[in-house]
């Protein structure tokens, strides 16, 4: 009985205290005909040793390819200290800090996280996480629609330069809440969403404009112009940002004349391993005025009976456990452990460290793009400046090329053509600070032969 501490003597004594003969009697309120007998689909238990051998084999099976994919999840270095501390039992095996006095560790971490996220985004307040960047954008959209006191129409402009997975997630989550998502096209040459593109779809009032920075192509949007334009029309502006990019880029709080109203994004670049896509963490920050519409946990500073500083969950009246059907969101369990990791990660790197990471990724990707464009027929798709990712056009079908690269244990990038057929054979590449020059060179060589092969076939 793995993990069960009961001895025969314990069991006998406990049954006796309850006054039943056997454990089965405790289930006697369950109608007999419902009682399950077998769990056919569940194999017999394994020892930890056996399951270790199994999982090691499974992990090994997936190889150790070199990763040039970005597209929303980035292969950054994570200081060893981050997860050694985050997985300490006291963080790992505690739950939501409902008993504040017994949870100061977690609560202070949340408060520090919120402080760091507001510093990065330049906004006033932050919640203590949502599931991931895409669901955070969905919550941001809902929040904006609720918050905009001037525009009551639940209409939100959503540029096509927002990551397609994000757009689909938002669509799934908001579909039954009456929100209308209006696509905004992008400039085929620059890769940017311009004010003109927005104008084109904005004949009716809209509650919010979403502004990705950088956008899915890595391209930098003219965030100031977009922000001013939308706010002039009484819409709120929602920035979707990469927190590492924010080390170099203007924070949403500084966009335009008065700053974006809401910022959200994916926290993965702040110390989370790629891990097949999760767990990551969604962050969501806003101006003070909107705090009561902010979904999710918020930790606040307070004092104890003796006046000592402490932290506690606050503004819980926004949440489902108090407000039930009138809550700002249904979220309950969030991404606490990832918040802990992100907080430690940011504390260790500091603003300067993040800046160096961002700069290194940026420079590495520039070098990568340059090298790959040395392969005949490979060329950049967009002209506008981009941060740490680059969209390239290939002279052969992306799928074929990626498969050939994968055979050499190179994950060549994200197939943009699938999502943007108008771009043709298009590939989004990224080289984080972890990618080395030999790896970049190896990629170029592999790409050259993959292209040659594909075109020969």
């Amino acid at each position: 009985m793995p993990f069960i501490p009961h001895t025969d003597a314990d069991i006998a004594g406990m049954l006796d205290a309850i006054g039943v003969d056997n454990i089965d009697a405790l289930f006697d309120e369950i109608p007999k005909e419902l009682r399950a007998t077998a769990l056919d689909g569940v194999p017999a238990g394994l020892s930890e040793m056996e399951v270790t051998q199994l999982l090691q084999a499974r992990a090994r099976a997936d190889g150790e390819p070199t990763c040039f994919i970005g597209a929303g999840a980035y292969d950054h270095h994570i200081p060893a200290a981050v997860w050694q501390i985050a997985t300490r039992g006291e963080f790992y095996s505690a739950y939501t800090p409902y008993q504040a006095e017994a949870s100061q560790g977690t609560l202070q971490v949340l408060y520090e996280f919120q402080s760091m996220m507001t510093a990065l985004t330049g906004l006033d307040v932050s919640n203590a996480s949502l599931y991931d960047g895409a669901s955070a954008l969905a919550e941001a959209v809902l929040m904006a629609v609720r918050s905009n006191r001037k525009v009551k129409q639940p209409r939100v402009l959503m540029p096509r330069t927002v990551h397609p997975f994000y757009r689909r997630t938002v669509a799934s989550i908001v579909q039954h809440q009456g929100v209308e998502l209006i696509e905004v096209d992008f400039d085929a040459r620059s890769g940017q969403t311009s004010v003109e593109h927005c104008e084109a779809v904005a004949d009716e009032p809209f509650a919010a404009l979403v502004v990705p920075q950088p956008n899915v192509f890595g391209v930098l949007e003219d965030v100031d112009a977009l922000t001013d334009w939308a706010q002039a029309r009484d819409a709120l502006v929602i920035g979707v940002v990469n927190p590492v990019a924010l080390a170099l880029l203007s924070p949403p709080g500084d966009w335009g004349q008065v700053g974006a109203d809401i910022a959200c994004g994916e926290g993965q670049p702040l110390g989370m391993p790629l891990a097949s896509g999760g767990p990551y963490l969604g962050f969501l920050c806003c101006k003070q005025a909107f705090i009561r519409q902010l979904p999710g946990r918020i930790a606040g500073k307070t004092e104890d009976l003796e006046g000592k500083v402490g932290y506690t969950l606050t503004l819980q009246a926004r949440e489902q456990h108090i407000r039930r059907s009138k809550a700002t969101s249904n979220i309950c369990t969030n991404q606490g452990l990832l918040v802990t990791a992100a907080t430690i990660h940011m504390a260790i790197l500091g603003a300067e460290g993040l800046e160096r990471v961002a700069a290194a990724c940026h420079a590495n990707t520039a070098r990568l793009a340059q090298q790959l464009c040395a392969v005949p027929g490979v060329e950049p798709i967009f002209s506008a400046p981009a941060f740490h990712e680059r969209a390239l056009r290939l002279p052969a079908p992306t799928e074929t090329v990626l498969a050939a690269l994968a055979e050499q244990d190179i994950l060549g990038g994200f197939d943009l053509g699938r999502e943007y057929p108008e771009l043709g054979s298009a590939l989004l590449v990224c080289a984080t600070e972890r990618r080395t020059d030999p790896e970049i060179t190896a990629y170029r060589e592999a790409l050259a032969s993959a292209v040659a092969l594909a075109n020969a076939a």
């Binding site: 009985m1 314990d10 406990m14 089965d24 309120e29 369950i30 769990l39 569940v42 930890e48 999982l55 499974r58 992990a59 997936d62 990763c67 994919i69 039992g89 006291e90 505690a94 739950y95 939501t96 006095e101 017994a102 949870s103 971490v109 408060y111 599931y131 960047g133 669901s135 997630t169 965030v223 170099l248 203007s250 790629l274 891990a275 896509g277 999760g278 767990p279 963490l281 705090i291 606040g300 307070t302 009976l305 506690t312 503004l315 489902q320 407000r323 059907s325 969101s329 249904n330 309950c332 369990t333 991404q335 430690i344 500091g350 603003a351 290194a360 940026h362 590495n364 990626l402 994950l411």
Partner: protein
Amino acid sequence: MLIHEHSRPGRRASAQAPLETADYGDLPQALRRKRRAALPEVSELQAVRHYTRLSQQNFSIDTHVYPLGSCTMKYNPRACNSLASLPGFLARHPAAPESHSQGIMACLHELQDMLKSVTGMHAVSLAPAAGAQGELAGVMMIRAYHDARGDHGRREMLVPDAAHGTNPASAIMAGFTVREVPTGSNGDVDIAALRAAVGPQTAGIMLTNPSTVGVFDRNIQAIAKSVHEAGGLLYYDGANLNAILGKVRPGDMGFDVIHMNLHKTFSTPHGGGGPGAGPVGVSKRLEPYLPIPVVIKGDDKRYHWLDEDDRPESIGRLTAFGGNMGILLRAYIYARMLGAEGMRRVSEFATLNANYLQARLREAGFQLAYPERRASHEFIVTLKKEAKELGVNTMDVAKRLLDYGYHAPTTYFPLLVPECLLIEPTETEPKEALDGFVEAMIRIRAEAESDPETVKQAPHSLPLRRLDDVRAARQLDVAWKPAADNA
């Protein structure tokens, strides 16, 4: 002391970033940050020391008995963490091709299969990131089902008054209205009220069984019949699966949709508030609507992802990359260690512990909310008598329990039971721990009689005394700002 207070301008953990700053002169000046974010500037040791010491201020399963009702705070096997953290798993990009994903996909596929078997459902998607997202997915599938049949009038979701707050909140997010169904005095859903409530407007009902009052609803078959006959579907909130694992299956009870809280029943870490994982299981008729992605095993004996193209009727994508994979892996590892036999033991011993604790507390004179009933894996004590007679309320008792080294049970939930403690010991606590808890409760009651202030001012032995929640909300301070900003 905040990490920010350890900060000094120019201090760095310099092994942790590229040693020099690369060139980024090509980024347009106008789009660049004007001043550095006010993140702390500390050495690596300072960060390590700060967060190590902070961690020590938490109660956790690894340090304390933590009988938080509805949360299943049981032992999180350490192997789940270390194996899910094998370099191969951590390094895998979510967009890696299937050629480089067969290992993890095998785990996910087997997990889907095990969850099907455990719940008695036809198909499973692992996509939802936590319980509440599983609920949302579940009710969205109910909606999709009705909509696909052109049955557009079904816009009302029934939710028992005892339900967790996420249930009504999720129903609203899926565009339903919520109608509450009362709980009878015996803890079962008031079946007459239910019958009166169902109708052509009924999209479905959200239930958990055992319910959040800690008893198994004996009328579940009648409930199912009544809702199904009215054309509604049954949604199962899987938060309480630990009570019935291998004993009775939601699918067999008549449920059409279920979400599971893997961070509860399957013992993935609660992490100070997540991450969770909230897979959904459905009956055959709902399969097309499952959120994507789903893993299938092809005729080629290889694993494949099903996405939007393969599942055009899917309710869609709930996170960018398909869910909390690392948590799913942990659940998979746990499930493989348990095996079928181990799973049955989980519910048996969770139930044994709860009933033993209930019996002991009853014997010690505490009032049970449902004294005639078996406990499931949890049960409710109501302190309304103590509150009235001694002026010591549930929160006071909860805080005083901390002094005795026990994390408090869930307080004031479910809302329908006054001054309640929802107590869930879980199967991984030994008898001695339960006996110790009973003893602490007895002592606290004695204190409440002889010296109520001690209880009302608790805790006394923790680094902080009782915290002022009202002040936190009134004098809102939710982020540290640099002195310059404050000035």
